[in-house]
């Protein structure tokens, strides 16, 4: 039996149900509205596990579910060596979210990461501490800035209202998820021209460490045919 983990509520759950329904597989919550159990119709041997979207990467990494639908960003942020522990079967075309680096719009001398790096050096010399970037995506942002050779910055943790941290002087720049950029503009921030850390969307992942017996492999093959993957 394949265990398929999908988000248990919200828009991500609806869009996931729509995506599967369009391919002849229906995901249905069973029992009461608040119960986190469900069934899969249209294909045999698949069990539905409803989880919060943030728990799905961990369950996939541990192999407690065989398949899971969640955002590319949370998988890359939460799971070290994610590509060694799961396979991305398909990007699903919804749940789009760009993780970007943004600075005050009034920084007229800053357009690119190159500028940010130069400003970080001058800022550290002038203020005695490294330029602070507020984010909750520490791994993604650190890996990105290391690959780009940006130095003299520090990440400060921000689990919400990240756009406000610059105005409140707890950070000089931010790295956050945006879909239209409107919130950033409203907070007098602008995105760096090459500051796209990750263009994320919802994706279907398979867990390498789940129990894949002969039955599960056959069921996966059937499911992939049905889904056109």
């Amino acid at each position: 039996m394949i265990r398929l983990g999908v988000p248990s509520k919200g828009r991500l759950m609806e869009q996931t149900a729509d995506w599967f329904a369009a391919r002849g597989v229906s995901l249905r919550r069973t029992g009461a509205e608040r119960e986190y159990a469900g069934e899969v119709a249209g294909v045999a041997g698949v069990e539905l596990v409803l989880l919060s979207a943030g728990e799905i990467p961990r369950e996939l990494a541990a192999g407690r579910i065989h398949l899971g639908v969640t955002g590319m960003d949370v998988v890359r942020e939460q799971v070290p060596d994610w590509a060694g522990r799961m396979e991305e079967f398909a990007r699903l075309g919804y749940g789009h979210a760009d993780l970007v680096i943004a600075v005050p719009a009034a920084w007229v001398d800053v357009e690119t990461l190159d500028d940010l790096d130069a400003v970080a050096a001058a800022f550290r010399a002038a203020h005695g501490h490294r330029l602070r970037i507020a984010t909750k995506y520490h791994r993604l942002v650190r890996d990105f800035l290391r690959a780009e050779g940006v130095a003299d910055y520090q990440l400060v943790d921000s689990q919400g209202a990240t756009e406000g941290t610059v105005k409140n002087a707890t950070a000089e720049a931010i790295a956050d998820i945006t879909s239209s950029g409107a919130t950033l503009r409203a907070n007098h921030l602008k995105v760096l021209a090459d500051g796209l850390v990750l263009a994320s969307e919802a994706a279907l992942f398979g867990a390498r460490d789940a129990e894949w017996g002969a039955d599960e492999r056959a069921q996966l093959d059937a499911l992939r045919v049905k889904l056109g993957l």
């Binding site: 005050p104 001398d109 400003v119 780009e148 520090q154 990440l155 105005k167 002087a169 000089e172």
Partner: protein
């Protein structure tokens, strides 16, 4: 894999060898304040070290190396010259399964000496080289100071030299800066558009037009960088022969005597390299005086550029093979002592050995 008592026994033999060479054994706390390490290495160290929270002392790290605490201890009142030795675990966070050990013993020797840097380099290398002689390792040497002197010798602004110096340990960005300052990269259209906008009005007017200024970076800092960008845009490119000399140094790999000859050739074209070449010649003489076969040493001018971030002069590694981390590494870190000493500095050179790898290679007995 050798067992822990065997590894510790190898470490103890190395510590004894360092003591016989005049070093005083020292200890360091396993829990180190994160602040000093973060200031030195930047945010990257969080990916490489274990960070933990102490309820009273704030953010702490499990000792990623001994160099920082030993330098701090020495700066707090050590006599000079000083030789220190240590043996203990270091901790390195690993993001990929199976790749590298996340906890291992390290035996080290550090020498603080103002009198004769080439002799100090040779003493540390010879001590570690001799201790590991039974293993027949390949010795690679290098000198980050040669690249630094080449950058200082470029015919360009202090600002450009400072930008290159700052990224000397980040090959990718160093390359991009060198290409830009050397006029070899096609001009970035975004940068060109930015310069055009900045030239159109005063920084104050541009800032006012861009919206309310938020955050800690002040208008005068933005204006100063606008001026700097406009000045830099008017600067001529670094002459091509100088860029080629820097590239030739980055690519230089040869036996030590041949490398010295090649660098003498570069110094003829770029006189700023003369002191670095003289240092290298003096180091080779000092190594020979300590009985090291200099002709057998490999020399790579860019050795240790990506992995040994705080070394700024002589660097070395003793290698068993490509599928194993270096058994020993070391080098000179004068600049680190200046940073940790808050103005005070002392020339320092040191090296570390991994007893676990020594044991895996059959040990010293």
């Amino acid at each position: 894999m050798a067992d822990k008592p065997a590894i510790r026994a190898e470490g103890q033999r190395l510590l004894d060898a360092f003591r016989a060479a005049g070093a005083v054994p020292v200890e360091a706390d396993i829990l180190q304040p994160a602040e000093a390490l973060l200031d030195l290495y930047g945010e990257d160290i969080r990916a490489r070290a274990y960070v933990t929270a102490d309820p009273l002392r704030g953010e702490m790290m499990l000792r990623p190396d001994f160099t920082v605490p030993v330098v701090q201890m020495h700066m707090a009142g050590g006599a000079e010259p000083a030789r220190y030795a240590y043996l203990g675990e270091v901790f390195r966070r690993q993001e990929r399964p199976g790749a590298r050990a996340s906890e291992y013993l390290q035996a080290g020797f550090e020498l603080f000496d103002r009198a004769d840097p080439p002799a100090a380099d040779a003493e540390v290398f010879a001590c570690i080289h001799a201790a590991l002689a039974p293993l027949g390792l390949r010795a690679v040497t290098g000198d980050i100071g040669i690249l630094a002197d080449a950058v200082r010798g470029l015919s360009t602004t202090e600002r450009r030299k400072a930008a290159l110096m700052r990224h000397i340990w980040r090959p990718g960005r160093f390359r991009r800066l060198l290409d830009r300052f050397g006029g070899r990269a096609a001009p970035d259209p975004r940068r060109a558009a930015l310069i055009e906008r900045l030239a159109a009005d005063t920084p104050e007017a541009l800032i006012a037009a861009a919206g309310p200024l938020i955050g800690k970076r002040a208008a005068n800092e933005i204006a100063a960088r606008c001026t700097a960008l406009l000045e830099d845009a008017a600067e001529p490119a670094i002459p091509a022969p100088e860029v080629e000399t820097v590239e030739a140094i980055l690519a230089l790999r040869a036996k030590a005597p041949a490398a010295l000859e090649a660098l003498r050739g570069h110094a003829a074209a770029m006189p700023a390299l003369a002191p670095a070449v003289a240092r290298l010649a003096a180091r080779h003489a000092a190594l020979a005086a300590r009985g090291v076969d200099v002709a057998a040493l490999d020399f790579e001018a860019a050795y240790g550029r990506t992995t040994m971030e705080y070394y700024d002069g002589f660097v070395f590694g003793l290698l068993a093979g490509d599928d194993m981390p270096p058994v020993a590494t070391g080098g000179r870190y004068d600049a680190l002592t200046a940073v940790l000493g808050q103005g005070r500095a002392i020339p320092a050179v040191g090296g570390v050995i991994r007893p676990g790898l020594v044991a895996a290679l059959g040990g010293l007995r």
